[in-house]
């Protein structure tokens, strides 16, 4: 089976799930990595180190900023001339769009957000959660190439083998200019809660500490406490929608139905009540810990460990206790 893996990156910063896709591709046989962008030599180099046998690189100034159309047209042209059977991609906002459009160009189909995959000959059957994970479906794509985007952290990340190299094939970009990027404002350091092994998440409760002033002031302090704990554990800060709507933290952090679906090893929910729309975003975490003032909060039904208490007292104490044990 001819397998390609698309390495998704933002200005050279690779989405970790791209390496997970490469690891999965590798387990099926030889694998070709596809890298599109401008000045992406380092990405191609890393692709070899994570297991690619061949890397096809399209390095072109017109691909400096991701835009759906030139990326899709370039990728479709590559795939129609080399006819891969299976194309694996990490699941991101970009790859959903890219694979969707290429599936139209190539008269094929796309299976998104896949959590398991099995192969029989050159036929792939995938498992994907539907109805917000309430039901699992097994689906197939009856045309080639089969586009499959993988859910982050559903497949193991391969080890990086420093210095491993291979043959780079250069290809041409295809012009398909329908939009232009006028600007880009990083409101803060890039947040990708989808990749994080640990998420410390805050809800409306993070703004509830009158001794610190108004809600905004309390939330600033509250999220700083969560950030310290997340930092100690090498994790990221998540949030409920109430915290995002309150203006306490940006949308990129939101976990749940209208935010992001995450599956970290550890999820610590602080001051989050546990509404269904939040639960669908995090209930696949390996270990869930809830800290909430209200013993009746539904979040406790989802958690393995719970603390009924004030997060402003419990979270910093937990940071201290874990720091001691981790020797950091």
């Amino acid at each position: 089976m001819k397998t390609w893996v698309y390495i998704d990156h933002f200005k050279g910063e690779v989405q970790v799930a791209s390496w997970e896709a490469l690891g999965l591709g590798k387990s099926l046989g030889a694998v070709t990595a596809i890298v599109l962008g401008s000045g992406v030599d380092a990405v191609a180099k890393a692709a070899f180190e994570y297991g690619a046998d061949e890397v096809i690189v399209v390095d072109d100034a017109s691909l400096a900023d991701y835009r759906a159309e030139p990326f899709a047209s370039t990728f479709s042209a590559l795939a129609s001339s080399s006819t891969p059977d299976l194309i694996l991609l990490p699941t991101t906002a970009r790859t959903r769009e890219l694979s969707a459009m290429c599936a139209v160009d190539l008269n094929s189909g796309v299976l998104t957000d896949v959590s398991a995959l099995s192969v029989d000959g050159d036929k792939v059957t995938v498992t994907r959660p539907i109805y917000e994970g309430k039901v699992l479906e097994k689906t197939v794509c009856n045309a080639k190439p089969q586009f499959v985007t993988l859910r982050g952290r559903a497949f193991p990340k391969p080890a990086q083998e420093a210095g491993r190299t291979g043959a780079v094939t250069k290809a041409e970009a295809k012009a398909d200019v329908k939009s232009s990027v006028e600007g880009y404002s990083a409101t803060e350091a890039a947040v990708n809660i989808g990749d994080a092994a640990v998420i410390v998440s805050g809800g409306r409760g993070v703004s509830n500490n009158p001794s610190l002033g108004d809600e905004k002031a309390a939330a600033e302090k509250g999220f700083a406490l969560l950030g310290e704990l997340a930092g100690l554990l090498g994790g990221a800060v998540g949030a409920s929608r109430a915290a995002v709507d309150g203006g306490f933290i940006t949308y990129a952090h939101q976990v749940g139905q209208t935010g992001k679906v995450v599956a970290p090893d550890l999820y610590i929910a602080c001051g989050i009540s546990g509404a269904i729309q939040h639960l669908v975003g995090m209930r696949n975490a390996k270990l869930i810990v809830a800290i909430n003032k209200d013993a009746e909060a539904p979040i406790f039904k989802q958690a393995r460990f719970g603390v009924v208490g004030d997060l402003f007292a419990v979270v910093p104490a937990l940071t201290v206790a874990l720091r001691k044990r981790l020797g950091k």
């Binding site: 759906a68 990083a186 269904i276 729309q277 270990l287 206790a321």
Partner: protein, 256 residues
């Protein structure tokens, strides 16, 4: 300014959806407009208010999907069209995109077509870009702010990495996210108007397309394994004492 908002009807997110005898069931839980699509309708109405024009709600679905269209009408959409045909029961996303594109052309095109980011049922989020591709229009995904200016549109895309400002010529396809603002509640007048509105139903034949054969097909559905979690409440005299116990418990799970 002519705007089309594409919507879908789905079981409410509180619904107990499960796999039963090879079918997805949700008991008598209510069907609602896909919550993500409410943002699309909201975005469309905001643009109508800013630039004048009309908003048409468009939906592929069974007869019951009228209710979702009525919700869009009650929010303020000017008209609604239902594409309904038993032949469409098993289409995949590329098929849906081809049918939507045909319906958009039959409406007479548009300046902007707006979608929600994804649906609650399938959750793939691929129909908006696929519709854009079939139409050959630019795709602007995950949009939180829209400004139209003489034949072009500038949007702010809300991405993981930050906010990206992108400009494209009209017509264009947009998918809208929560940052557009809270969807408005249907007004009393809106509900009355919606209840009286005639919603034309188009069949595939009327669209002049053949039913696209599904390339993606489902072979099995199942219920996810239910992990019975029993929550262990960690108690203690002081937050510090609780934290000490909790830290030990977390480390014992070997997730760090």
């Amino acid at each position: 300014m002519k705007i089309i908002a594409c919507i879908k009807q789905v079981p409410d997110s509180e619904a107990k959806v499960k796999a039963e005898n090879g079918q997805v069931t949700w008991g008598d839980a209510p069907l609602v407009i896909n919550p993500f699509d409410e943002y699309a309708v909201e975005g469309a109405l905001q643009q109508k208010e800013a630039n004048g024009g009309t908003v048409t709600a468009l939906c592929i679905g069974p007869e019951t999907a009228r209710e979702a269209l009525k919700h869009a009408l009650a929010m303020g959409a000017d008209e609604a069209i239902l594409v309904s045909d038993p032949a469409l029961n098993d289409i995949d996303s590329v098929g849906a995109a081809r049918v939507l594109a045909a319906a958009i052309n039959k409406i007479g095109g548009a300046d902007m077509v707006m979608f929600g980011r994804q649906t609650l049922d399938n959750g793939a989020g691929v129909t908006p870009p696929q519709t854009a591709r079939v139409l050959g229009w630019p795709m602007l995904g995950w949009v939180g702010q829209i400004k139209v200016d003489a034949g072009s549109v500038q949007v702010e895309r809300v991405l993981e990495e930050g906010r990206q400002t992108v400009k494209a010529n009209l017509p264009a396809v947009l998918s809208i996210v929560q940052s557009i603002g809270e969807p408005r509640y249907p007004s009393f007048m809106g509900i009355r108007k919606a209840s009286k509105a005639a919603i034309p139903v188009w069949s595939v034949a009327e669209l002049g397309v053949s039913v696209p054969a599904a390339v993606v097909t489902r072979v099995e559905i199942s219920n996810p394994p239910t992990a019975e979690t029993v929550c262990e409440i960690i108690a203690g005299e002081t937050p510090e004492a609780i934290a000490e116990t909790l830290a030990d418990k977390i480390l014992a799970e070997k997730v760090l």
